[in-house]
């Protein structure tokens, strides 16, 4: 048993460590600001996690020292064994809790607009506090178990505020075990008897409540029609998002569209290069030489080669020719950066270019292109 427990604990430990490591990929990709309330909570969670880590270590220490003592006495009560097991479990749980915290700190923007995230944070705080209380209790227990034992033997059990066992018995209306003969149904199937216990009252109540809920649910959606059907739900969601988006873009001076976009400077082009590398290489080749998609380095364009044309192509796509719309993937600024990078590829003459497609494009001199660069290339997504 001891061995199994050790294996279990070690496995859980390793497991949670790997889980922690599994967080890595996301933290690398996400970068953004967070809302104030959430920040506070995340800080709170981190602090609590540190406390838990301290308590966890203390707990392990106290358990070890207790084990040594127990070895001397050569008498380990099974309940103590169980308590130690729970302790170990909790320590591993705490490391998982820290992992959750890590997750919360690294990807706040993912969920910053959901009220559910706030609830999640509160839940984590609550759980952490619970763990702290439990740890404190366990440490107390392991540091001086003898005292507890003595106390248990000497004192009569204190009357608890709620007698759970009694409540449970009452909830189920349990009959005492020695009264069983009186409720035997008399059935005997291959020696299996059946008792005539009543259905637990909480079961009946629960069943009735679930039926009420079910009919209420049907009534709400299909009779009263007071809850939105899925198409309406979608319309609401989209409308809300659109409002938020417009609100956001109104305050962004770097908002661009296909009419206002201009060729960016070196910073913008290099940002575009990064985006290109991560998203476009599969079809257009590492050097823009083309592949599944057309060559971007030559003078020939299927849909014109001006900066505005390229921006338009990116934004709306050319569905029937296999170019998808990227407006759900890239922000306007990113599309401007990408367009600028693509434009900068002209004439680079990569080693194995795809043959020319489309028409020869000659630059239309655009008065706006001369204007100062309006886009802050360092702006975030």
């Amino acid at each position: 048993m001891q061995l199994i427990k050790k294996i279990t604990a070690t496995t859980i430990g390793i497991f949670s460590a790997v889980l922690l490591m599994a967080q890595a990929p996301v933290s690398a990709t996400s970068s953004a600001s967070i809302m104030d309330g959430d920040t506070m909570l995340v800080i709170c969670i981190s602090l609590l996690a540190i406390v838990i880590a301290f308590l966890g270590n203390t707990l392990i220490f106290s358990m070890n020292s207790y084990k040594d003592k127990a070895k001397l006495k050569k008498q380990v009560d099974t309940t103590v064994k169980a308590a130690m097991f729970i302790g170990l479990m909790l320590v591993s749980v705490s490391s998982m809790a820290q992992a959750t915290t890590a997750a919360a700190t690294t990807e706040p923007v993912v969920v910053s607009h959901t009220s559910g995230f706030r609830i999640l944070l509160y839940t984590i705080v609550g759980l952490e506090m619970l763990i702290i209380v439990l740890f404190a209790q366990l440490i107390k227990y392991f540091i001086n178990p003898e005292v507890l034992f003595v106390a248990k033997e000497a004192k009569a059990p204190k009357p608890a505020l709620i007698n759970w066992k009694k409540l449970w018995d009452k909830m189920n209306q349990f009959k005492p075990l020695d009264h069983e003969a009186s409720i035997d149904t008399g059935h005997s199937y291959d020696g299996i008897h059946e008792l005539d216990n009543i259905t637990p009252p909480w079961f009946k109540v629960g069943f009735i409540l679930s039926i009420i809920f079910a009919f209420g649910y049907l009534y709400r959606y299909h009779v009263a029609k007071s809850a939105p059907m899925q198409a309406e739900e979608y319309a609401i969601e989209v409308a809300e998002a659109k409002l938020q988006q417009e609100e956001y873009l109104k305050n962004q001076k770097d908002n661009v569209d296909e009419n206002t976009v201009v060729m960016l400077g070196a910073d913008g082009v290099s940002s575009g290069a990064v985006l290109y590398k991560n998203n476009c290489v599969a079809c257009h080749g590492a050097q823009g030489q083309g592949g599944v998609g057309p060559n971007l380095t030559d003078e020939y364009w299927i849909h014109q080669g001006g900066i505005k044309d390229i921006f338009k192509t990116l934004k709306y796509g050319w569905q029937e020719k296999g170019m998808k719309s990227w407006k759900d993937d890239f922000s306007p600024v990113q599309m401007a950066q990408l367009s600028s990078f693509v434009k900068s590829l002209k004439g680079t003459k990569p080693p194995t270019p795809k043959e020319a497609q489309g028409d020869l494009y000659t630059e239309v001199i655009d008065s706006t292109a001369v204007k100062a660069i309006a886009v802050d290339s360092t702006a975030k997504k």
């Binding site: 199994i4 279990t8 496995t11 790997v18 889980l19 490591m21 990929p25 996301v26 990709t29 993912v110 959901t114 189920n172 075990l177 003969a181 035997d184 149904t185 008399g186 005997s188 199937y189 291959d190 020696g191 299996i192 008897h193 059946e194 008792l195 005539d196 216990n197 009543i198 259905t199 637990p200 079961f203 629960g206 069943f207 679930s210 079910a214 649910y217 049907l218 059907m229 739900e233 979608y234 989209v238 998002a241 659109k242 988006q245 956001y248 998203n279 599969a282 079809c283 599944v292 338009k312 709306y316 796509g317 050319w318 569905q319 296999g322 759900d328 993937d329 922000s331 600024v333 990113q334």
Partner: protein, 733 residues
């Protein structure tokens, strides 16, 4: 084992109150219990269980390391996953059910099994079906509907064997020496009749050739029937027969009376009545009519307590026997099994709430949920039964109680390590899926999410491996046990025959009347389980407004149809859905949400239930032909970081044009509007379209014969979702 000893002790002190005891002066009849058939079923359970779980472990690792199919078409995830699910459901649990029935039924009825030849036909028939499944599924012979993949000849074989089982079971029941039927038998009867109904209705298909058929139903209707079936396969194959199993083996092993006879009655009838309605909760937020979705949700919520009835009766039966649980591994397994049952039947109704389902559907949460049920409830209940049954049948003690206890701990650990990463992965991917930047763009590409969950797939595979190791311990332990004992092929018993005329007590309990009339019980069960399906299906089939037709939706061209069959053969639906839900993040990622009218020619529907890869409902015209070509040849070339395996064989194998004729014919028979006589034209059209795709590829310097399967695949992929593709995204045309 000490259980039997305890049990004798308990019952010898009981007063004989039985009302259905026959008169003592009646002549005792001698009869036998056959142990050979249950032993054979038990061996089959163990063998297929190990095989099915091993395949599960392989495909779990494949999700992280796609190269693990070794480039062989027969071992891809898409083909092995149906093998895994079919093996664990129908081979492992199926044989587990039959072990329990063939062992307990004669004993509960004080008679021999009715016909030993039928028992043998049942045993060997079922094993042959499993072998047939194990051969055909990797070959890509599949109906393309989850948990009902087996092709029509096997479907017929299943029906026949199931009838043999039923005849044998009812023959036994009708020749019984016990007046009333015990609750375990109610569950066996209810399960038998419902599975028969589910299998027959869902397997309506029109054969095209010996190993190919199309589902009779299309699109939304097919989805409804399939999930009515799929959900109730869980209910009436994985749950109710196992409740019957529990009601026999748990009180036996614990030596305790069943806690509440009345609870048995309440939860049996409410469970089978309510369960059947819940199917549509697998289709929330899809194109299924919303009234049907709501029925699914409402009935799932009502299902919670009836399900818990079984858990309560199981756990409370152990009242006064908890001291035995500490020593007896059989009871340990039962306690965790019943607890897992309680957990997953709580989780189930929660998952059918719309807002929870929005998170869980298509995600690894569902996978975690079913595995709590499968590994915990079905697995552990089976293990407990075997640890109890094998020593008994070999008239010896279990070789090692300690080893069984170790198996218990390892198994529990395996379940935990399986489930946690899946829950975790589900929530992470959900939050990533729905993340938008403030300026309104999706924050993550699908591939980012795939990359994030891959480590969790590894952890899950490790959890599964640990669980499987436990099974190997059991195999060793049981072999040792069997070797130490000697097999008792036949057991003898005697009991008086039932009196011809039964004088019921003056005021019989109403339910006891049904308990002594098996045919009434059978009929009532059938009526009770038929209601839900009828109420949901008839309007969906007959009322036009449920599936509004869309004029622009046209039947597939012959080439697309062939491509679709390749899609089905490769089991693409195991990782890709074809159903975009009306959520902002899904529409932004995959395109406009799916409408019911788009699927009217989809025999079978391919909506899928899990998105390991992205949704494909509107993949058509999103990428050039050459993108698909390169992607199928080497997915990472077009989608770096992809965990999809390469499909090299599509580039070597020719399209099976000989089948086009019969395929078109079959489709028209089911109402797909191909012109009369189009069969003879079809292959000409097919060749023309294939040539145009090959020409198109040539423009991108790809040279391939237009006869190859990849051409058909590209045709189908490029067609998908384009019928009503709105051009709002294209600013000009």
């Amino acid at each position: 084992m000490t259980v039997t000893h305890h049990q004798i002790e308990y019952y010898s002190t009981k007063p004989k109150l039985s009302t259905n005891q026959s008169h003592p002066y009646m002549e005792l009849q001698k009869f036998t219990y056959d142990n050979k058939i249950p032993r054979n079923f038990a061996i089959a359970t163990i063998v297929w269980g190990a095989v099915g779980m091993f395949v599960g472990v392989i495909i779990a690792f494949q999700l992280a390391f796609p190269a693990l199919n070794f480039g062989i078409q027969y071992t891809t995830f898409g083909r092995l996953r149906p093998l895994h699910t079919n093996a664990v459901i129908f081979a492992f649990v199926g044989n587990g059910i039959f072990t329990a029935v063939y062992y307990s039924l004669p004993r509960l009825l004080k008679t021999s099994m009715w016909n030993n030849t039928l028992s043998k036909i049942h045993f060997w028939g079922w094993q042959l079906i499993i072998v047939a499944a194990a051969i055909t599924l990797p070959l890509g012979i599949t109906g393309g509907k989850e948990y009902a993949e087996l092709e029509w000849p096997i479907d017929i074989a299943i029906t026949l064997v199931w009838v043999v089982f039923g005849v044998n079971m009812f023959g036994t029941i009708l020749t019984r020496r016990e007046r009333h039927l015990y609750v375990a038998i109610w569950f066996f009867i209810g399960s038998w009749v419902t599975v028969a109904m589910l299998h027959i209705v869902n397997s309506f298909e029109i054969p095209v050739s010996l190993w190919k058929s199309y589902s009779w139903y299309a699109g939304v209707q097919d989805a409804l029937v399939q999930w009515w079936y799929g959900h109730n396969a869980v209910a009436f194959f994985l749950t109710t027969p196992y409740l019957g199993l529990m009601y026999y083996f748990l009180p036996k092993a614990a030596g305790r009376p069943v806690y509440s006879y009345r609870l048995s009655i309440v939860h049996f009838w409410s469970l089978i009545f309510l369960y059947i309605w819940a199917g549509p909760h697998h289709l929330l937020y899809t194109a299924l009519p919303e009234w049907a979705q709501s029925l699914g949700t409402a009935f799932s919520i009502m299902l919670l307590l009836p399900s818990w009835g079984g858990m309560i009766n199981g756990l409370f039966t152990l009242r006064g026997a908890w001291d035995k649980v500490r020593e007896n591994p059989v009871l340990k397994f039962y306690v965790v099994a019943v607890t897992c049952y309680g957990m997953s039947t709580f989780e189930g109704p929660m998952l059918s709430l719309k807002n929870v389902n929005a998170i869980s559907h298509y995600s690894d949460w569902t996978v975690a949920h079913v595995h709590i049920g499968a590994l915990g409830w079905n697995g552990f209940l089976t293990f407990g039964m075997l640890y109890w049954l094998i020593p008994k049948m070999f008239n010896t003690k279990l070789y090692s109680i300690k080893l069984a206890a170790t198996h218990f701990w390892i198994g529990t650990l395996g379940i935990i390590l399986y489930a946690i990463p899946m829950y975790w992965a589900a929530f992470r991917s959900y939050f990533m899926m729905k993340a938008f930047t403030p300026s309104g763009q999706l924050q993550y590409q699908f591939i980012d999410i795939v990359q994030t969950v891959v480590p969790f797939y590894v952890l899950r595979a490790i959890g599964g491996t640990i669980y499987l190791l436990g099974v190997f311990l059991m195999v060793y332990n049981l072999i040792k046990t069997a070797k130490a004992g000697s097999f008792v092929a036949t057991e003898y018993n005697e009991a008086p025959a039932l009196e011809k005329v039964y004088k019921a007590p003056a005021n019989p309990f109403w339910h006891s009347v049904i308990e002594r009339k098996p045919m009434v019980m059978l009929t009532l069960s059938l009526i009770v389980v038929a209601i839900g399906g009828l109420v949901e299906m008839i309007p969906t089939f007959l009322v036009k407004s449920n599936v509004p037709t869309i004029a622009s939706v046209k039947p597939y061209t012959p080439l697309e149809l062939q491509g679709r069959d390749i899609y089905i053969r490769e089991g693409c639906y195991n990782c890709h859905s074809q159903m975009i839900r009306p959520f902002r993040y899904e529409v932004a990622r995959y395109g406009d949400y799916s409408k019911a009218g788009e699927f009217v020619y989809d025999h079978p529907f391919q909506w899928g239930s899990k998105r390991t890869g992205p949704d494909l409902a509107r993949i058509g015209a999103k990428y050039p032909d050459s993108w698909h070509f390169n992607h199928m040849l080497e997915p990472v070339s077009m989608s770096p970081g992809s965990i999809m395996p390469p499909y090299g064989w599509l580039f070597d194998q020719d399209i099976d044009i000989a089948s086009t004729n019969s395929k078109i014919h079959a489709m028209r028979k089911m109402g797909v509007p191909y012109a009369e006589g189009y069969e003879s034209e079809a292959n000409k059209d097919l060749a023309k379209q294939a040539q145009s795709i090959a020409d198109n590829l040539k423009k991108d310097k790809i040279v391939i014969s237009s006869k190859k399967e990849i051409i058909a695949m590209i045709a189908y992929l490029q067609r998908m979702g384009t019928d009503i593709k709105t051009d709002t995204t294209n600013y000009s045309k």
